[in-house]
């Protein structure tokens, strides 16, 4: 799984809404949880949209994000 850890989550759901692969959900404790880890495409969107930088993506499993071609 590319997401190394989620710590300091405030439960705002931004990551759930931004994830194109529907990997994350808000759990019973009101914090983000990884539900379908195998679906993750390591797109970094959840990390970039998290307002408090709660999501850490494992640098070893990470791939550079291509923002634009021009």
């Amino acid at each position: 799984m590319a997401i190394k850890k989620i710590s300091g989550c405030i439960g705002c759901s931004e990551c759930v809404l931004s994830c194109p692969m529907d990997v994350l959900r808000i759990g019973d404790n009101g914090k983000a949880e990884i539900c379908w880890p195998e679906e993750c495409q390591i797109c970094h969107l959840c990390r970039m949209y998290c307002p408090v930088d709660a999501i850490t993506i494992d640098p070893e499993k990470s791939i550079p994000v291509i923002i634009s071609w021009g």
Binding site: G8, G11, E14, M48, P51
Partner: protein, 252 residues
């Protein structure tokens, strides 16, 4: 014969107290390796915020009327340490929610402004306790800096200052326990113990449970004051036996 006044203030004592309040928990967090994986800015920012938070219970200890501390430090020095540390803590902890969103300036995704408003508008217990403790902390800082213009007598102000500080500690602890990134069971126990110690110190002061003793004597007795300065300081620092009057006269 010129006489140097004896030195009774040891800032080393203050530094040791800082080491207990902040150094110990932060060192434990570093050893446990909880600071890893995020970018350098976030890690350094986290370290500064955690250190500042660890010093909050210390402020209950470094208050100018702490009789135990007045054995080691002069009241005015203690007051100075309390003010300097307090000002730093208020500035650091109040800027914490703003500094948290700064990295969003340098990457795609959510903007710092959006991140800030999303953060403060999320109605969860941890966020609410954070907002309440931020407001209390700001009030604490403002009422302390502008104490002279407040229509309050010193005793009333001191009580208000104590109550505000205690509320900051309670709401802040809730915020830290719910949202803290570096919280481990050990750190939870340490923070709870510090908070309890702070509460006990404040309640003892309020309800006057500390028996009134004679004020601490900061000047040495006249016989010792007559000794040449270096010996005088050595004798006092090492807590050697106090010389009899005859001994002093023989030495002179």
């Amino acid at each position: 014969m010129s006489q140097t006044p004896p030195v009774f203030t040891t800032s080393g004592f203050f530094l040791r107290a800082i080491a207990v309040f902040a150094g110990f928990p932060v060192l434990f967090m570093l050893i446990k390796g909880v600071f890893s994986g995020r970018n350098a800015y976030l890690e350094i920012f986290s370290l500064i915020t955690v250190t500042a938070w660890c010093l909050v219970p210390g402020q209950f200890y470094w208050f100018p009327r702490n009789r135990f501390l007045s054995l080691h430090l002069r009241g005015c020095m203690l007051s100075k340490y309390h003010i300097v540390t307090g000002t730093l803590l208020v500035l650091l902890l109040c800027s914490h929610p703003f500094l948290l969103v700064v990295p969003k300036l340098f990457e795609y995704g959510i903007s710092p402004r959006e991140a800030f408003f999303t953060m403060i508008s999320t109605p969860t217990a941890g966020v609410l306790s954070g907002i309440i403790s931020w407001l209390l902390l700001a009030t604490l800082g403002i009422t302390a800096w502008f104490r002279n213009v407040l229509p309050l007598k010193y005793k009333a102000w001191r009580r208000m200052h104590g109550i505000l500080a205690f509320l900051v500690l309670i709401f802040g602890l809730h915020h830290v326990f719910v949202l803290g990134r570096h919280i481990t069971p050990f750190i939870t126990v340490i923070f709870t113990l510090f908070a309890l110690a702070a509460a006990v110190m404040m309640l003892r002061r309020w309800f006057d449970l500390i028996p009134h003793a004679k004020p601490v004597r900061l000047l040495p007795p006249p016989a010792v004051r007559l000794l040449p300065p270096p010996e005088n300081i050595d004798r006092l620092e090492k807590q050697e036996h106090r010389p009899e009057k005859e001994e002093v006269e023989n030495e002179l």
